[in-house]
């Protein structure tokens, strides 16, 4: 009877970079990986973390975690219906009692972020730590955010506006004494 209003409520962990700040990009410290494994498995083991830092080389590090899809492929791929909806957070989580560790979901995930735990051999995926993600809490450069989809669009819009401003500003002479918003030295990177 009620219409679906998930889009505005559902929160997920996103990488929100602020390229105009000195420490506004992921520094690749991997604190989030260990915070995740500590929160979910009570040990330090990056192989059991549900967030991963991908090092692309030349100093570029990007955190990747579950996108919390509405209609996830991992769930479709599961033979035993072990990936179930969590009502409170409105996301899909793995029911460890049902999971048989076949790894079918791992191959199905287009983001490569549902994994098999090397110790328990069951599937693990981001469960948002019951609404208080440990990775977001620990990130020293504050580039991880726990945010709704609607707010992501706001963030992206702001970033786009800042880029527009900078492109525009780069063409103008800088008034003396004024603090200039710094351009990223590597300009190609901002353009897809």
């Amino acid at each position: 009877m009620s219409t679906k209003i998930n889009l505005a409520i559902k929160k997920r962990v996103v990488y929100r970079s602020r390229p105009h700040e000195a420490t506004g990009l992921c520094t690749g410290c991997r604190s989030c990986e260990l915070a995740c494994s500590l929160a979910n498995a009570n040990v330090f083991n990056p192989q059991r973390a549900r967030i991963k830092i991908v090092a692309l080389g030349a100093g570029i590090d990007i955190p990747v975690t579950c996108q919390q899809c509405e209609d996830p492929w991992c769930q479709k791929a599961c033979y035993v219906n072990a990936i179930v909806k969590d009502k409170k957070l409105d996301i899909f989580i793995v029911d460890e009692n049902k999971c048989i560790g076949c790894g079918n979901c791992v191959g199905a995930c287009p983001y490569g972020i549902i994994l098999l735990d090397p110790i328990t051999n069951k599937a693990i995926k981001c469960n948002l730590c019951n609404g208080k993600p440990a990775c977001v809490a620990i990130c020293p450069s504050h580039v991880l955010e726990f945010i709704t989809d609607n707010d992501i669009s706001k963030v992206n819009r702001r970033r786009f506006a800042a880029i527009l401003y900078n492109e525009d500003n780069a063409l103008r002479p800088v008034p003396s004494g004024a603090e200039r918003i710094r351009l990223l030295p590597d300009r190609e990177r901002r353009r897809p």
């Binding site: 000195a22 420490t23 990009l25 520094t27 690749g28 410290c29 991997r30 604190s31 260990l34 915070a35 500590l38 498995a41 009570n42 040990v43 330090f44 083991n45 990056p46 192989q47 059991r48 090092a55 030349a58 100093g59 590090d61 090397p118 110790i119 620990i138 020293p140 450069s141 710094r182 990223l184 030295p185 590597d186």
Partner: protein, 643 residues
């Protein structure tokens, strides 16, 4: 059930000669005395590498030990120590670096890796979760570090595997060679020629990965300490510039005190403006990056956008800038290129820069002519010659073959009085800033156990403390006076040496724990919180005094090692230049030389504080007894070094 602890619990030893792979359990009594990291490395080296073994012998060991807290989430706990008998100093030698390799070794189930013997052909070691293989590395031999890393990752089909490797310099036994983590843009175990020892074993690389857990003993205490650490760095005025500029910020410190040591340690002033940290930040910085687990983020990726060296990428650290200044270079692009070049070739920037500066002074004084330098015009500040000579050192070509021995040995080969231009302590090239005018810093270089080293101690404490604090902690108000103070400095030096050793044992970064804008925060981070983290992770119940005593114990093990090698008080000396020649500053002042009287007074006070013999500088039986080093007493007595 076994107690939950962050130790992996095993030592892996690999003999490359007979391909023997041996795993043994970690002995709890050994752990309780030496904790990990530099502690394990120093003791294992003492027990196994005796004076009759030369650095490049098969019997010499490379001991790779992640600090005790590496692999846990403790902030900035990422440092791995590589200990060996140094080819530069022929004494205790070690290099420290951050990176993911140490943690990977622990996830694979080992707290320590010992490599001995010599492979017949180039090999690399793969440690894969308890499976250890010695594999052929002929295809990697001769390759640059970044290429080696890339090929290894492709071969093992795992972009996330951690590697350490040597470059062409290490393969050719260049005594300035370093060991690189994950190719060319992560940590570097640079000092003491550790890379050359790895090369002498025909060992190109070690790759490690693992899936085992590192346990945490007390989660509540860990989280509390973590919170306390974050609160401390949040109010520490030291942190914001570190996060803003990275290690380039030391330029401001250097300029303030006028201790550049430019042109082979002769000039205190220098045209440093092109190397302003602000220039690096605005013109070359790509992004901030950091070592594993670090909330300070003082590493920086720099990239040259245009010009002759366009496209060069380097993670530049302060010492690279400092050593370029020693060679009279003040072009930021050359500095970035030099950093990248050394990293690709597997060279130590400090040793290489210092040695090139030595050659430049020999050239200036006419001891080396154009015929010796293969036509290179080795004037101070000559970019081309600077970079070409770096390549020649790694390739051991021409003059590079002589300089590859390090400045101390090169001066013996060149002769003609060039010894006085070789600025080294115990054979290791001089590091950091010029000690002239600051007597305790001069002594700190001399007493370091691995040759010249500014990170073996932390005499910078004298800049932080108030006279009252100095009186309370070091027994004299004078200890707070940088230039004139003498009394209390010996105790300050001993204190700071033991203090920073704790960091090396636990694997904590010196910038994150052992630098601060106030003495109070420094003690809190480096001792209180380090002990709290250690207890929370391992379940031990160490008091702060015991932790401090552990630092003292490790330092004494290293000193005993050097004593056994024949070093004594006469080796605890800095180059004559610092005593004789005034530092040339904009205005000459009284502080322009190291006063020999002050130097000796501080050194004697230091020996007394340490409980060592004042005349010989050798540890006494009482101090070794107190530090529970009985096996070392027996060994030294047997060799006639101890009464």
């Amino acid at each position: 059930m076994k107690q939950k602890s962050s130790y992996a619990g095993k030592i892996l030893s690999i003999n490359l000669s007979n391909r023997d792979i041996h795993v043994e359990e970690l002995d709890p009594s050994f752990v309780s005395l030496f904790l990990g990291g530099r502690g394990f490395g120093s003791k294992i080296l003492y027990d196994n590498v005796t004076p009759n073994i030369k650095p490049f012998d098969e019997e010499n060991l490379i001991i790779l030990t992640p600090g005790a807290l590496v692999g846990t989430g403790v902030p900035a706990a990422s440092r791995t120590t590589i200990t060996t008998k140094s080819p530069l100093t022929e004494m205790h030698g070690d290099g420290h670096a951050s990176g993911t390799w140490g943690a990977s070794l622990k996830y694979a189930g080992y707290d320590c890796l010992i490599v001995k013997g010599k492979a017949e052909k180039p090999v690399y070691i793969l440690i894969d979760d308890g499976r250890v293989e010695i594999r052929n590395a002929s295809h990697l031999w001769g390759k640059n570090t970044s290429v080696t890393d890339k090929l290894l990752k492709e071969e093992l089909n795992d972009p996330d595997i951690s590697t350490v490797c040597i470059g062409p310099a290490g393969e050719r036994l260049v005594r300035l060679a370093a060991i690189m983590h994950d190719g060319s843009d992560k940590g570097v175990n640079a000092r003491c020629g550790v890379g050359a020892v790895m090369g002498s074993k025909n060992l190109k690389a070690i790759a490690a990965r693992g899936t085992k857990d590192i346990n945490l003993h007390d989660q509540e205490a860990y989280k509390k300490a973590y919170q306390e650490y974050l609160e401390t760095i949040a109010i520490d005025p030291y942190v914001p510039p570190a996060t803003k500029y990275g290690t380039c910020r030391f330029m401001y410190h250097r300029v303030k005190f006028g201790i550049h040591g430019a042109k082979n340690w002769r000039y205190g002033s220098f045209e440093w403006e092109p190397l302003d940290p602000e220039v690096f930040r605005s013109d070359y910085q790509v992004k901030a990056s950091s070592c594993p687990m670090c909330p300070i983020m003082c590493r920086r990726d720099y990239r040259i956008q245009s010009g002759k060296y366009a496209g060069t990428v380097a993670k530049l650290e302060w010492e690279c800038i400092a050593r370029s200044i020693t060679c009279g270079i003040n072009n930021p692009e050359i500095v970035i290129y030099f950093s990248n070049l050394c990293n690709q070739l597997g060279l130590d920037v400090e040793g290489t820069g210092g040695t090139i500066a030595f050659a430049m002074e020999c050239y200036e004084k006419g001891l080396l002519g154009k015929e010796d330098t293969d036509g290179l015009d080795l004037n101070f500040g000559n970019h081309e010659a600077f970079l070409t000579l770096t390549k020649k050192i790694a390739a051991r070509e021409g003059l590079g073959d002589i300089l590859a021995e390090g400045c101390y040995r090169a001066s013996k080969i060149i002769g003609k009085g060039s010894e006085k231009f070789a600025i080294h302590v115990k054979g290791g090239e001089m590091t950091a800033g010029d000690p002239r005018g600051m007597p305790v810093r001069a002594v700190s270089y001399a007493t370091s156990t691995r040759g010249s080293d500014h990170l073996r101690s932390n005499p910078y404490v004298e800049e932080l403390i108030t006279p009252e604090e100095a009186e309370k902690w070091f027994g004299s108000k004078e200890a707070a006076d940088i230039y004139k103070g003498v009394k209390g400095k010996g105790r300050l030096l001993k204190w700071s040496e033991d203090f920073v050793t704790i960091g090396d044992i636990l694997g904590l970064c010196k910038f994150a724990y052992y630098r601060s804008a106030s003495f109070e925060y420094l003690k809190k981070k480096g001792l209180q919180l380090a002990t709290k983290f250690y207890n929370a992770c391992t379940g031990s119940n160490l008091s702060e005094e015991e932790m401090f005593k552990t630092g003292e114990r490790i330092f004494n093990v290293e000193k005993a090692y050097n004593t056994r090698e024949g070093a004594d008080r006469k080796d605890d000396i800095i180059p004559l230049r610092f005593f004789m020649e005034p530092l040339i500053k904009d205005k000459i002042d009284e502080n322009a030389v190291v006063d020999r009287g002050k130097f000796n007074t501080i050194l004697e006070e230091y020996y007394k504080e340490r409980g060592w013999d004042v005349n010989t500088g050798i540890p006494t039986r009482e101090i070794l007894e107190r530090l529970q080093l009985r096996s070392i007493i027996q060994d030294l007595v047997k060799r006639g070094k101890l009464a």
